[in-house]
């Protein structure tokens, strides 16, 4: 049911882990629904995402979309990262089963939540 791309990201997820003292952390989903995604960002002074890590509780698609999303934003500017869409994640994975599209939405939301967290911290620090 999953594409090879999805299985590759599930088997060898990129950027698993946490970042201590992250510039921004986003957590979306809840255990009741069976998916929780957490994204950690390390953002430099030029607003470039220097590093990104994730942790995910969820199905194969949840892991793969998290992994793919982190790859897509690593090295990007915050501005560009904000433009990430769930459709782009699905496309990069060469498709997802219909019942699993919500995972890609979650990945998009996790990225945005982490960036928002970063912005909030940044603005508070000002």
């Amino acid at each position: 049911m999953y594409t090879e791309r999805v299985m590759d990201h599930f088997k060898n997820p990129r950027n698993v882990g946490e970042i201590e003292d992250a510039s921004g952390v986003g957590t979306v989903g809840n255990a009741k629904c069976g998916d929780i995604m957490q994204i950690f960002l390390d953002i430099d002074e030029n607003e470039i995402i220097r590093d990104v890590k994730f942790k995910t509780f969820g199905c194969g698609a949840a892991v793969a979309t998290s992994s793919m999303a982190t790859e897509m934003i690593k090295g990007k500017s915050v501005e560009d990262a904000l433009k990430i869409t769930n459709a782009a994640v699905v496309e990069a994975l060469e498709g997802l089963p219909p019942a699993k599209i919500h995972c890609s939405v979650l990945a998009e939301e996790a990225v945005k939540a982490a960036i928002e967290d970063y912005m909030k911290k940044r603005d508070e620090a000002k």
């Binding site: 049911m1 999953y2 299985m7 599930f10 088997k11 997820p13 698993v16 957590t27 255990a31 009741k32 629904c33 069976g34 998916d35 929780i36 995604m37 957490q38 942790k55 995910t56 509780f57 969820g58 199905c59 194969g60 949840a62 892991v63 089963p97 019942a99 919500h102």
Partner: protein, 390 residues
Amino acid sequence: MKVYLDNAATTMVRKEVVDAMIPAFTTYYGNPSSLHEFAREAEQLLDSARKDVANVIGAKPDEIVFTGGGSESDNMALRGAVAANKKKGKHVITSAVEHHAVLYTLQAMEREGLIDLTILPVDEYAIVSAESVTSALRDDTVLVSIMFANNEVGTINPIAEIGKVCRDKGVLFHTDAVQATGHVPIDVVKMNIDLMAISAHKFHGPKGVGVLYIRKGVRIPSLIIGGGQEKKRRAGTENVPGIVGLATALKLTNEHMAENAVKVGALRDKLLKGIADRIPDVKLNGHPINRLPNNVNYSIRYIEGESILLMLDINGIAASSGSACTSGSLDPSHVLLAMGLPHEIAHGSLRLTLSEFTTEEEINYVLDLLPQIIQRLRDMSPLYPKQHNA
């Protein structure tokens, strides 16, 4: 290594069964309703299959109706029993942990206005007690449908007790014995069962063929109407090869039931204990004793079921999480929720179901691999507590 531990979903058709079916495909292929030698040969195959099945469950051959599978048998029993008792009432009792072939059918019938439905809760082991049935019975109750053994957690219900309660009250009792047949002893007479569903592919028989046992004297209308087959109870040209396969498989499974329960039970216990010993934060689902001899079901905290299955699959191990029919769906198992598990724990269940063809080597392989897989997924999980993580 390929390890098949999804025998509650379906089983390999055993060689003896395939061998028994082939002549019915190619030689004795007549339509049993016709009037010639090819037909008589097919009819004899049917007759002898009917006797074999009846023998195994303590029924009379006339009480055996062959169907297109377990789901059809359940649907026919439920719709039929309700339709036949319209004058008496429309209250039906079932349990929260039934297979969807029962639960969804009854819920659809409720929406159609055909019945008033009471769904009994279960205890933490998924057991439906005879007392809870007794207290739910009403004067207008026409049917009680309680499964013999649960497909997810393997728990075996006190069917004889429930049967007695129903018989004493003159209420029809249907039991979905799809998971139990061939694995535990069944006697429809002693257990006071009126209607019982069986499916061949759960005991090394073919898919797409089942039985509805209908006790003599119980009359229910057909679900599938047409030709006069099965004494007018189920229309459609009889699936002779499938029926021969069902009977052959059931006879074989039944003959070796006791020895398999010991053999499979020992491997199952090794797996049960091995997982508990090697993996922290797991919880056994289902009753520790009143349980199918081939069922292992654990909740594995902090991680989600599908991920476990995918990792196992990558390593050649076939397993399940929740019931097969709802994998792909986003809801956690209704069975585990009814047993009182919180959602996030219900999401992380792993069902390993053995067969008589399972080997000790395979169990060892699983026990070697599973801890690593679980640890890997836990390390990825935001729910996994930090102290473990270090």
